[in-house]
Symmetry: C2
Subunit: 332 residues, 2 copies
């Protein structure tokens, strides 16, 4: 029920995902049953042959309330226990589902995910992991908005979370981790980053040292490609929104100067298409919670669902728990 | 003598600037006299008619030492009092010049500028003000690298400095100032930004509230265009380097997908050409010190010199002093 185009676009994305994922998987649509039934009926009306088989893999879970995009996260989560957000996450906490995807209120999803699924032992905060397109492979940047002020220890936790995500969901082996700073030397950066650099050297990760802003679009530095970039959620969120805006700005420039049509522009810059990457997982919770942009297209929702499937099938959650437990043993 | 292409490129830029600025202005070339004489002679050899008049407006100031790009700033400044950096800035401190431009070691230029020119009363730190191209007019972003950890009070000082620069050098009347954060609401941001927001509301500037990463490429938010964006030097430097890398990355994508040649690409994205904007002033010192990229082209050096001329002619330095004094009276 969340996001700017609910329920049509999320349900369309769910139908597209069902057609592409393993036929053993089912999707639960959580929200107002009557609205979901009507939307499903109208979306499936035109395609009778495929409709029945897709519809058979959908469960509708009643949740009468909706957390609005403008609701304060904590207020929404506490005040609306029967919202689609809370009900959907509770299903996973109770073992009745393996992953949760939403384009709704991001703050509420973070709060409800942390409350319902709980953090892995040893963690103090969850982090949002976003994919940034580069000239090489996409880079995972975390935290991209869950935490504005982070300690050095929390940045190290994010590095461990991001490394498992890159391995399990993106298929990177022994993912290389960079710490975002303003120079490659260990003594460059603000106080927290300098401390985090020292901790990361002995954190049992494939730490490549500091990376700079320029290394993200490049996909790495002259020391090699980078899979994961660590920063606090203030810097990550500023960068993410900057990147989301600079790409359309340049496409506009290219389009007007070169008299290209929309299709040619989109094809040229297809690597920058955010809907390709679906959603961003909230890492650190004991489960799978994928955060989608409020303005997600059906294609973005579809890809977010496929990402949730991959996270669940790969056992990412258990791997994260194992990695964190190992790091605590080393420290103890 | 500083920068990656010294002395040819800076001297070429100086000659280009002399041809364009008011004929009453002279340029001092500070460095190893013999090297400068030779370079000048070879650059002017081909253009005898214009050569004499340009050469007459150049003074060569001997400075035997050079602070290398790899020197530690403080060590370089203290250990090399006869470097072109220190000698050049001392000329201005002694009233023998009105502005200083360098493509040399940035950290050394900051340290030597602060030591030789001194900060305006009431300031604790200088800030680097960089122009970011946008779909509207360029935005001044400061601090873009002088200070990694900033207090809320320092962010407010940067706002005052940036507003005078935008007015005097960029010709913006009553420049609008935004505070970089992760949401437009005053309660969004990290601890320092939230405190700075409250201080800026009563700082006597045209404060537009928080702006987000997306508002920089857009040139403003739905509340209107923005002239100045305030952030700490860690965030500003990460963004600057990110922007410098994302533009060439997209040009490369456009070039290879559309089979365009270099000239067509450059024309398409000419608004993103950093050499157009020359250098970035170190604001807060009692004088004019323009920091250029180490890899500056002659055109970038020329435009940095023109910017120094404009800063000197507009009386920017005195205006900054006046504005800071007024703000202290209000606070007292």
């Amino acid at each position: 029920m969340g996001g700017d185009y609910a329920p049509e676009v999320p349900i369309t994305g769910a139908l597209q995902a069902l057609a592409e994922i393993n036929k053993a998987h089912r999707i639960q649509l959580v929200g107002r049953t009557v609205v979901i039934e009507q939307t499903l009926a109208s979306l499936l009306a035109g395609e009778l042959s495929a409709a029945a088989s897709l519809r058979n893999r959908i469960d509708i879970i009643e949740a009468p309330d909706v957390i609005e995009m403008t609701d304060k996260p904590a207020v929404g989560v506490r005040g609306k226990p029967n919202s689609s957000m809370v009900v959907g996450l509770k299903l996973q906490a109770e073992g009745k589902s393996d992953g949760f995807v939403s384009a709704g209120n991001t703050g509420a999803q973070m709060a409800a995910s942390t409350f319902q699924l709980r953090l892995h032992q040893g963690l103090t905060r969850p982090a949002i992991a976003t994919l940034f397109p580069t000239t090489l492979k996409p880079i995972v940047v975390l935290d991209s908005g869950a935490n504005v002020d982070c300690s050095a220890e929390e940045l190290v936790q994010f590095a461990r979370l991001g490394a498992v995500y890159a391995e399990d969901v993106l298929g990177r082996s022994n993912p290389s981790v960079g710490l975002l700073s303003i120079g490659e030397e260990p003594e460059k950066g603000n106080a927290v980053v300098k401390e985090a650099h020292q901790l990361m050297l002995r954190a049992g990760i494939n730490f490549q040292g500091n990376v700079e802003g320029r290394d993200i679009p490049a996909g790495g530095s002259d020391r090699g490609p980078i899979d994961v970039v660590i920063c606090d959620g203030f810097v990550g969120n500023v960068l993410l929104k900057f990147y989301e805006a600079v790409a359309p700005m340049m496409m506009k420039m290219a389009g007007s100067a070169l008299h290209l049509d929309k299709a040619a522009i989109e094809k040229t810059f297809s690597a920058l298409d955010y809907s390709e990457h679906g959603g961003a997982p909230l890492l650190g919770v004991q489960g799978v919670s994928i955060i989608c942009h409020g303005r997600s297209s059906a294609r973005a929702i579809k890809n977010a669902i496929k990402k949730a499937v991959q996270a669940a099938e790969s056992g990412m959650n258990a791997h994260i728990g194992k990695r964190l437990a190992e790091s605590q043993e080393v420290e103890a």
